[in-house]
């Protein structure tokens, strides 16, 4: 990995534009190098799952290289989110990165704790979600490349809304054009049409601010490819209903979410990855092989949030090894997505709006009314033969915290044990890994699981 630049500790306000660019680029490359390291490690795994990891990391690295190239060559690139119709960005040939990329994708990186400490030293409240705090810190420290434009996010929580305000007050970012599609409160046809219009406005905004033009034929191609990807994902998800589940936390699952939405949406490489994932899974299902060949499946878990990426390597393998507990399904791996009708421009925007408003994880549950917490858990518990539901209780989830009671009641109605832990998915200091393990163990024991 590249050495950290000397001025890493300098706040963004004190940097010149060039210094800022160099500092941010150095940091972005450092993260790229972290994934390159993981790719190298995965390359040594001569298994179908290993090959999947290699393919995934290759796609990820390619998207990162595109951003790096854009920074270095001063060509347009965008900061956006997985839930702001990434198909549109692909169709407009716009490289992009997720503002919350590090917590969502690279929280296992060795520098993450230093970053969290840096955020605290900067005075950021520790009651703020770490997934928000980290990008705030990167922005304020000049560690995030300044894009040509920003597509903001105003749901599901106040934290994401606040992040846009941070951008608008930061000297390096305040003049970067920003458009945040406005998510309506309801989830009916009127809401979908409204949000479709927001996406159209977003396209106009991107055209104006980046110079890249939208070609509807290209959008159709991308959406059709996206549909192919999603059909395979749907098929793969059925495999995880098998007992034993063919894959655990490491494969499929949340990776599927990342490949379909976080790197480049509607890309044949992603479809190819899913095809491989599906084939790999089908073989295991036919052979009756479970996720972990050494530790047979005893407990089937629904983890109803993103995985604890800040300490995932210390916790998830332990679950499997200590308890035979397999993460069969989680919030981000769940597939409720509708396919995009590509018959016209109108139907494409309509269905992209529907997908990004009502289907994508976390937005689906926490933007709308709380019924999705209940209905999604009910469906997943039944379909995936779940033995217990775990709501991690991430400290930043004020949006979801109020629904813990609804989830508990739902699980009670289903006759399935429910555990609410209380932790930070990215910061191991909040609730130590050992404490989480103790709570989970006590829960399993108390509920007679495993």
């Amino acid at each position: 990995m590249e050495a950290i630049e000397d001025n890493m500790g300098t706040a963004a306000h004190d940097l010149t534009t060039l210094e800022h660019k160099e500092k941010a680029l150095a940091r972005y490359k450092m993260e790229r190098d972290w994934f390159a390291f993981l790719l190298e490690a995965a390359g040594g795994m001569d298994t179908p799952e290993g090959k999947l990891q290699v393919k995934l990391l290759t796609i990820l690295l390619d998207s990162k290289e595109k951003v790096i190239s854009s920074v270095m060559n001063d060509t347009p690139f965008v900061a956006a989110y997985y839930c702001t119709a990434p198909e549109i960005l692909n169709a407009m040939n716009l490289p992009w990165f997720m503002i919350m990329e590090t917590p969502f994708l690279a929280a296992s990186a060795p520098y993450l704790l230093d970053d969290l400490r840096g955020a605290e030293e900067m005075g950021m409240g520790t009651d703020l979600c770490s997934a928000i705090r980290l990008p705030m810190y990167y922005i304020e420290s000049g560690l995030m490349p300044v894009p040509s434009a920003v597509v903001g996010l105003l749901s599901p929580c106040d934290g994401t809304t606040m992040l846009q305000q941070v951008l608008q007050h930061n000297p390096a970012w305040k003049n970067v054009p920003l458009f945040a599609p406005d998510p309506p409160y309801t989830s009916d046809e009127r809401a979908i049409r409204y949000f479709a219009n927001e996406l159209r406005t977003m396209v106009s905004f991107l055209e104006e601010k980046t110079g890249r033009k939208m070609d509807m034929h290209r959008l159709r191609e991308v959406c059709e490819e996206s549909n192919r990807t999603y059909k395979l994902w749907q098929e793969y998800n059925e495999l995880r209903r098998a007992v034993p589940c063919p894959h655990g936390w490491e494969i499929g699952g949340a990776q599927a979410f990342a490949v379909s939405q976080c790197f480049v949406a509607g890309d044949p490489r992603c479809t190819d990855w899913f095809q491989q994932l599906l084939e790999c899974g089908e073989i295991k299902v036919k052979e009756g092989r479970g996720a972990n060949e050494y530790f047979p499946e005893k407990i089937r878990i629904l983890w109803f949030d993103i995985m604890p990426y800040g300490w995932v390597f210390e916790f998830m393998p332990w679950l499997e090894q200590e308890w035979g507990a397999i993460l069969v399904m989680d919030m981000f791996s769940n597939f409720p997505y509708t396919l995009i009708d590509t018959s016209s421009e109108e139907t494409m925007f309509h269905d992209l709006a529907k997908r990004n408003l009502m289907d994508v994880p976390m937005i689906r549950q926490a933007r709308g009314t709380a019924e999705n917490f209940s209905s999604d858990i009910t469906r997943m518990v039944k379909d995936y033969k779940i033995d217990c539901v775990i709501w991690p209780g991430h400290m930043g989830h004020k949006d979801g915290a109020a629904t813990a009671g609804i989830m508990r009641e739902t699980c009670r109605g289903l006759g399935v044990p429910f555990l609410h832990i209380g932790l930070d998915l990215f910061d191991r200091r909040y609730t130590s890994v050992e404490e989480v393990k103790d709570k989970v163990s006590e829960f399993f024991r108390g509920m007679g699981l495993g």
Binding site: Q234, E235, E238, V285, I406
Partner: protein, 261 residues
């Protein structure tokens, strides 16, 4: 009158319309008694009856692929006389008539019981999520539509809509003793025919969501807290005042700009 009585009538009218338009409409009567429903079935029905999953390669018939069309919803009434207990209506080809095919799929499950109340809606909805309870039949894990597979193994045994209807009726009556009558309509004729059914579905689902909200409210949970701007009848006041605030900000900026000059 229960909230869905009108929808039940609409479904009846839909069937009549389909008949008038020349669609193949078949109706048959199944036993009323839950236990008799399972008699002679070529499959197992009940908890754990379908422990495995049905892979693509094992599929005899696919029902409700989004490309083919899908519409699934449930209705209930406290007036069981609105329904003919045990009646199954099939519009379009049967499963046995479409081996290795992919059919559009509409499924309307109508449930009646004098003792049914709005609070039973959750249980009625849950009873229709069959999960692993019908051997050789897997409803795919897709929340927005009903999309299912019949395995080759049970297809070879003659799994048909008769089988599916008996299974569903048995499961519902077993899970909900208050239910006195169950009637089911299946539509496999065309995607266009499902569009009409979808209109009834959307209206019913809106009522269902409202009832669900009340159900949770009675338990002390507000699914849709009304304390938000979207549900406030004075939202337009705030919208107008926001424009006023924006106007003032613009004027302030202009004034600052003038001062600077």
């Amino acid at each position: 009158m229960t909230a869905f009585d009108d929808h039940i009538r609409q479904v009846t009218e839909f069937v009549a319309t389909m008949r008038q338009q020349g669609r193949p409409v078949r109706q048959f009567a199944l036993p009323n008694d839950a236990n008799h429903l399972r008699a002679g079935l070529p499959i197992q029905v009940g908890a754990g009856a379908n422990p495995g999953i049905i892979l693509r390669s094992d599929t005899f018939v696919e029902l409700g692929n989004p490309d083919a069309g899908s519409c699934g919803f449930g209705l209930w009434t406290e007036n069981p006389s609105l329904l003919e207990d045990g009646r199954v209506t099939l519009i379009g080809p049967d499963i046995t008539e479409s081996p290795l095919g992919s059919l559009p799929f509409g499924q309307v499950v109508m449930v009646g019981g004098a003792g049914l109340i709005a609070d039973d809606q959750v249980a009625i909805g849950q009873a229709q999520v069959v999960a692993d309870q019908i051997e050789g039949y897997m409803v795919r894990s897709s929340s927005r539509n009903i999309w299912s597979r019949v395995s080759k193994r049970v297809g070879a045994r003659g799994f048909s809509f008769d089988t599916l209807a008996r299974s569903l009726m048995f499961l519902i009556k077993s899970a909900l003793p208050k239910v006195e009558s169950v009637e089911i309509a299946f539509v496999t004729s065309s995607k266009d025919d499902l569009l009409t059914l979808n209109q009834i579905a959307e209206s019913a689902q809106a009522i269902g969501r409202a009832a669900l909200k009340e159900h949770w409210k009675a338990r002390g949970y507000d699914l849709d807290c009304d304390l938000h701007c979207g549900s406030c009848h004075d939202k337009t006041v705030c919208d107008d005042i926001r424009k006023v605030v924006a106007t003032r900000l613009r004027k302030d900026k202009e004034a600052l700009g003038d001062d600077a000059q």
